[in-house]
Amino acid sequence: MDIRNLQGYASFFMTIFLVIFLYGYIIHLYRSEKKGEKDYEKYGNIALDDEIDSTPVESGSEHQSEKRGAK
C-alpha cells in the first residue's frame, strides 16, 4: 500500500473516531446534567452578570448556580 492510500484510510478512520467522540460528548453532557453533577446552563449567566464585583458563577470551589442580574 502506498502512502496516498494510507493517508486515505487514516483520514477515514479518523473521521469515524471523531464522530464517535462527538456523540460520546453529547451523551456525556446530557447524562452529567441528568445525574445532577453539572449544570451547564448556569454558565450562560457569566455574560449577563459580568460586573467586576459580582459573584463569579463558579469560583474556586463549587458554588450553587447564581440567579441572573443578582448584584
Partner: protein, 488 residues
C-alpha cells in the same frame, strides 16, 4: 463581593483597537468599492499609475479588511469582553497592560508595513498570505503577544469557568498560529543565495500540488478562524448581554464548538476540486463542507432561539436588529458554501463571480455587521456616554442591508451566467462564447455591485461618525447600562 470596590475594568487597549478597526474598515471598504468599480469601468484602473491597478489593489483590499479591520475588531472585542467574562481588570496587572499596549504598537507598525509593501508590489502571491517574510516574522510576534494576553488574563481570573466566547477566542489564537506558520514556511532568497536579488523576496518551501494543498488548508481556515470563530465569540457575548437573555442552550454551544473544530479543518480541499490533488481528498473536502452546515447552524439557531419570547426587541433596538441579521446571514453563507462545494455545482461556480458573491454575504452581512454591533455595544461602556444617534443607526442598518442584498444577488446572477456561458457548446461541440462575450453580458451586474459598495461604505461612514460622536460629545452616563445600550 470582592473587597476592592474601586476596581474597574480598564478599556485602554480595547479602545486603541477600536480606532484601528474603524480606520481600516473605512480604508479597506473604500478600496473594495474602487476595485468593484474598476470591474465595471476599466478606465478607473489608471487613476494612480501602477499603484491604482486592480492587481495591486485587490490584495490590498483583502489584507486590509481581513488583517486590518476584522482582526482589529477581534482584538478590540477580546480586550473588552475577555476582562468581563473573567471578572478581572487589565488594571490589576501592569505586565498584561504593557503587553497589550506593545501588541498594539507592533500591530500598527505591521499594518503600515503591509499596506506600503503591498502597494509597492511586494507579494508572495499566496492568497491571504501575501505579506513577505519580514512582515510574517512581525506577525508572529504580534500574535504571540496576543496569546500572552489571553492566557495571562485567564491566569489571574476570578471566574473559574471560561465562558464559551473565550473558547472561541482561544481557538482563533491556536488555529491561526498553526495554519499561519505552516503556510508561510518560506526561504528568503537574498539570504539563502548569499546576496542575490531583493531582500524582500522569498520562495515557499512547498511546491506544486503540495503548495496548493497547504495554501488552501490555510486559505479556507482563514475563513474559519478569522471570519467565523472569533465572530461567533462576539455574538455569544454581545447578543445575550444586549438583550438580557442568557444563551438559549449552553450545551448546544459547547457541542457546536467541538463540531466546528473537528469539521472545519478538513474542508479546505473544496477549493481544489478538479485539480491535481488526490481524488479522495477532493471528496473529503466536499463531504466535510456539507457536514459543516450542522455546527454552523447549531450556533446560529442557538442565537436566534436566545431571542425567544423577546422578539419585540428586534423592533425596538437597532443593535439587536444588526445581530439577528448577522446570524441570519451566517446561516445563509454557511448553506451557500456547502452547496458550492458539491462537485457538480462547483464545476459551474468555480472561478466565477458567484464566489466573491458568497464571500461577501458572509463578510458584509455577518462579519462586519457583528463587529460594528459589538463596537456599538462597547462604546457606552468604554466612554461612559450614550450612543449618539439611534436614527442614524437605523438608517445605517437599512442602507447596508440593501447593499449586501444588491452585492450577492448581482453576483449570483453574474456568476451563474458566466459559468453557463463558459461551458456552453453548440451542436458540434464547439464553445459558443468567447471570453469577451461574458464580460459584455456581465457589465450591468458589475455596476450594481459597485453601487452596493458605495451604499455599504456610506453606511460605514455613518457608523464611524456615530462612534466618533459617541466618544466625544454624546450625553454622559452616570451609571453603566446593564443590558440594553442607551442611545439618543
Amino acid at each position: 463581593m470582592q473587597s476592592n470596590a474601586a476596581l474597574e475594568y480598564d478599556y485602554t487597549v480595547a479602545k486603541l483597537f477600536t480606532y484601528t478597526a474603524i480606520l481600516f474598515g473605512l480604508i479597506g471598504m473604500l478600496i473594495g468599492t474602487l476595485i468593484a468599480s474598476q470591474m465595471a469601468f476599466p478606465e478607473l484602473n489608471y487613476l494612480f499609475g501602477e499603484y491604482g491597478t486592480f492587481s495591486r489593489l485587490r490584495p490590498l483590499h483583502t489584507n486590509v479588511v481581513i488583517f486590518g479591520f476584522t482582526v482589529s475588531g477581534v482584538f478590540a472585542t477580546f480586550y473588552y469582553l475577555g476582562q468581563r467574562v473573567l471578572k478581572v481588570s487589565m488594571a490589576e496587572s501592569k505586565f498584561l497592560m504593557f503587553i497589550g499596549k506593545l501588541q498594539f504598537v507592533l500591530y500598527v507598525i505591521l499594518a503600515l508595513g503591509m499596506v506600503v509593501s503591498l502597494l509597492m508590489g511586494y507579494s508572495t502571491s499566496k492568497e491571504y498570505a501575501q505579506m513577505e517574510w519580514p512582515l510574517d516574522l512581525l506577525t508572529v510576534v504580534v500574535w504571540v503577544l496576543w496569546g500572552i494576553s489571553i492566557f495571562g488574563l485567564i491566569g489571574i481570573r476570578r471566574e473559574k469557568s471560561l465562558y464559551i466566547s473565550l473558547w472561541y477566542y482561544i481557538a482563533c489564537f491556536l488555529g491561526v498560529a498553526m495554519l499561519y506558520l505552516f503556510n508561510n514556511m518560506e526561504v528568503p532568497t537574498y539570504l539563502a543565495s548569499g546576496g542575490l536579488g531583493s531582500i524582500m523576496h522569498s520562495v515557499s518551501m512547498y511546491s506544486g500540488t503540495n503548495d496548493a494543498l497547504v495554501q488552501w488548508w490555510w486559505g479556507h481556515n482563514a475563513v474559519a478562524f478569522v471570519f467565523t470563530v472569533p465572530i461567533v465569540a462576539m455574538i455569544y457575548y454581545f447578543l445575550p448581554k444586549e438583550s438580557g437573555q442568557a444563551i438559549y442552550s449552553y450545551k448546544l454551544s459547547l457541542l457546536s464548538f467541538w463540531g466546528l473544530m473537528f469539521v472545519y479543518l478538513w474542508a479546505g480541499s473544496h477549493h481544489l476540486l478538479y485539480s491535481t490533488v488526490p481524488d479522495w481528498m477532493q471528496t473529503m473536502g466536499s463531504v466535510f463542507s456539507v457536514v459543516l452546515i450542522l455546527p454552523s447552524w447549531g450556533s446560529a439557531i442557538n442565537m436566534l432561539l436566545t431571542m425567544k419570547g423577546e422578539w419585540n426587541q428586534l423592533t425596538e433596538n437597532p443593535l439587536i436588529k444588526f445581530m439577528v441579521l448577522a446570524s441570519t446571514f451566517y446561516m445563509l453563507s454557511t448553506l451557500e458554501g456547502p452547496i458550492q462545494a458539491i462537485k457538480s455545482v462547483n464545476a459551474i461556480a468555480h472561478f466565477t463571480d458567484w464566489i466573491p458573491g458568497h464571500v461577501h454575504d458572509g463578510v458584509l452581512g455577518w462579519v462586519a455587521f457583528m463587529i460594528m454591533s459589538g463596537l456599538f455595544h462597547m462604546a457606552p461602556r468604554m466612554y461612559k456616554r450614550e450612543i449618539y444617534s439611534k436614527k442614524l443607526m437605523e438608517a445605517q442598518f437599512w442602507i447596508q442591508t440593501t447593499a449586501v442584498v444588491l452585492y450577492f444577488t448581482s453576483m449570483w446572477i453574474a456568476g451563474i451566467t458566466q459559468g453557463m456561458m463558459w461551458r456552453a457548446v453548440d451542436e458540434y461541440g464547439n464553445l459558443m462564447y468567447s471570453f469577451i462575450d461574458t464580460v459584455a453580458v456581465l457589465h450591468p451586474y458589475y455596476a450594481i455591485r459597485a453601487l452596493a459598495g458605495v451604499l455599504y461604505v456610506t453606511g460605514f461612514v455613518m457608523f464611524a461618525y456615530n462612534m466618533i460622536k459617541t466618544m466625544s460629545s454624546s450625553r454622559e452616563l452616570t451609571e453603566e447600562p446593564q443590558f440594553r445600550s442607551p442611545m439618543a
